[in-house]
Symmetry: C2
DNA sequence: GCTTCGCCTGAGAGCGCTCTCAGGTCTACG
DNA sequence: CGTAGACCTGAGAGCGCTCTCAGGCGAAGC
């Protein structure tokens, strides 16, 4: 009952580095050195400590490690919900692609991935807390420039995967160029009434794709035929319906996301028209949705996994300088939704 | 240069609770009490501390909190990669659905979500490390019974979302019943040559769905016409091709996952047959893929988001007792891939 | 007026680990 | 044989926060 810490030998209590050190007959410092594979410990001691670790089934407490070292071995991902409710995260393939891109590179350095979802108009406090408690860095999956700046101000180890403010480091795809190329492709295939279904007005990628469409249509001397979508299938369906109704002579559609394209194909089919015979379609993303549709979508490939991996590596390497940019191309993937 | 800790007033260094306490003229303990909204602090002091917190822009260091309190405010999710490479995580809608189901309930209690991906045959050490460093609990997204037991042995605060070992707490869907119901539905619609495309042999859900199919086919006195898939679109495509080749008289397919069903529809269409006119199809999951296909899939709805939310709540409430079970129904969602 | 009780408050002991730094040992060299 | 230098090793001071516990103070009871 004294001041001694009693810990039975068969105790279920998790062993600490102290236990390992005692079992190996060395100090905590030495135990720490061999556990972390750091220099400054002789062969014999290394062996004794390793044996003790194995015998006790010792696993370092990551929390204590993080506190003592000031490093967290975790990268934070923040996803913004543009759509209503969490349905966005559940249905849009984009997010799992960024997670999938990050996991392998994190695994290699034995780091964790923390996911945060914030509403578009969620309290700034939530964002601040994420930034303040960030680990090795923060990957902004689809955040607006304004919020990105806010995060970056509190945590320099930040990278955005979407077009963002000049000061925030970014790994970006050429959304404008991709959209432009898509319209151009449609034009070269003989289409002249090329409509577009855009994404959410506040989404940085959607904004650029819209810009690319406008530039192309202007350059080619075509009419701008736009409808607003929401990056969801339903939105694509309804937007296509509206477009078809208002402009029955449409012969092609550039759709800012594959999910909406899937909806659009259904609307077009339902209206009695055929894809690509009557209407050619080019989507954007090359997500799993692109290959689930009938016909499979011709689309602009956004190399999300590669981008996410690059962003993660960047964070792992250190603090990216403000305004850092790494650009990825957006290439055409031809499948069966474009004529000829 | 003395022993004093120098911290300029305009320092960029993040304020600690010590700073808050000093600014408010109280002790750390009191500051902690008001910050954590714990009882035992008078009104006036509360006000002073709150003011100091606001003025300094103080954000508690979660790592230190976790270490001191022994609680982590984070739930771990572990996803197994059955397919080759990380593509599995990137393309299969299942994972984002579990994440989407968990996020809202975690957000409500201000907890984080940590994602871990492990290869099916990855070292047991990886699994142990996750279990040992688990926070409020671990959600097993799609792990095998054997590995689930291993995790549960090291961390009792564990819940599986798929059929698992008897001892491991689980939030399960009625995969067997769902598969059975699907075949039954097809039979009632007049189909008699009902084939099946199954999932990975090691996947617990796939196993149950296979069982359900067999039971139904036995009960109805139909022939068993099975092909193996991998829960991926490509696998569904090839399995359907094989099936069509070996049994040209097939009039229906029960497909263990919507993604494979999407592939199967393409293969069937490519073979000159029509869905549902020539072949009826019922998928499984009701994921985003189900509504991207043409025609949209009739499918068995797996309420993944609800299950994930339930599992998370369970963990938040405390340690589920060994063998705990919560069951969710799997309901038919009729769309256009079934005849009549 | 004195004791009892209850409520605040702050001192201080950790949580488990990292990392600096002083001291100790050993080898090589003059 | 003395000494510089290289290399180990362990003591101990934190990391930032939680939480117990003892002491202080005022109100209530006798």
């Amino acid at each position: 009952m004294g001041g001694m810490k009693v810990r039975g030998r068969m105790s279920r209590v998790r062993p600490t580095i102290e236990d390992v050190a005692r079992a190996a007959g060395v100090s905590r410092a030495t135990a720490s050195r061999v556990i972390n594979n750091a220099p400054g410990a002789s062969g014999p001691l290394r062996a004794r400590v390793s044996a003790a670790v194995a015998e006790l089934g010792y696993q370092p407490n990551e929390t204590a490690r993080a506190l003592a070292s000031g490093r967290q071995r975790a990268v934070d991902v923040v996803a913004v919900t543009y759509g209503p409710g969490p349905g966005w995260l559940a249905t849009h393939p984009y997010f799992s692609r960024v997670l999938a891109g990050m996991m392998p590179v994190l695994e290699r350095v034995d780091a964790q991935l923390r996911l945060h979802a914030v509403g578009l108009r969620s309290s700034a406090a939530a964002i601040d807390e994420i930034a303040d408690n960030a680990g090795l860095g923060v990957v902004l999956a689809d955040i607006t420039p304004a919020l990105a700046v806010r995060v970056h101000r509190r945590c320099r180890r930040t990278v955005s995967l979407v077009p963002t403010a000049p000061s925030v480091p970014g790994v970006e795809a050429d959304n404008i160029g991709g959209a432009y190329a898509a319209v151009n492709e449609l034009h070269q295939r003989g289409c002249r009434r090329i409509a577009a279904i855009h994404g959410p007005a506040a989404n940085p990628c959607a904004i650029d794709r819209r810009t690319g469409y406008r530039q192309a249509v202007d350059a080619l001397g075509l009419a701008e035929l736009s409808a607003d979508g929401d990056f969801r299938r339903e939105g694509g369906y309804h937007a296509a319906q509206r477009l078809l109704e208002q402009h029955p002579d449409i012969d092609a559609m550039f759709i800012a996301c594959d999910l909406m394209a899937a909806g659009a194909i259904q609307a077009i089919t339902a209206s009695g028209r055929r894809v690509p015979h009557d209407i050619s379609i080019i989507g954007f993303d090359d997500s799993i949705a692109a290959v689930c549709t009938n016909p499979p979508l011709t689309t602009m490939r956004l190399p999300v996994e590669d981008m996410a991996a690059a962003a993660t590596r960047l964070l792992l390497e250190g603090t990216p300088s403000a305004g850092y940019r790494q650009r990825f191309p957006v290439d055409l993937v031809v499948r069966d939704s474009t004529c000829r």
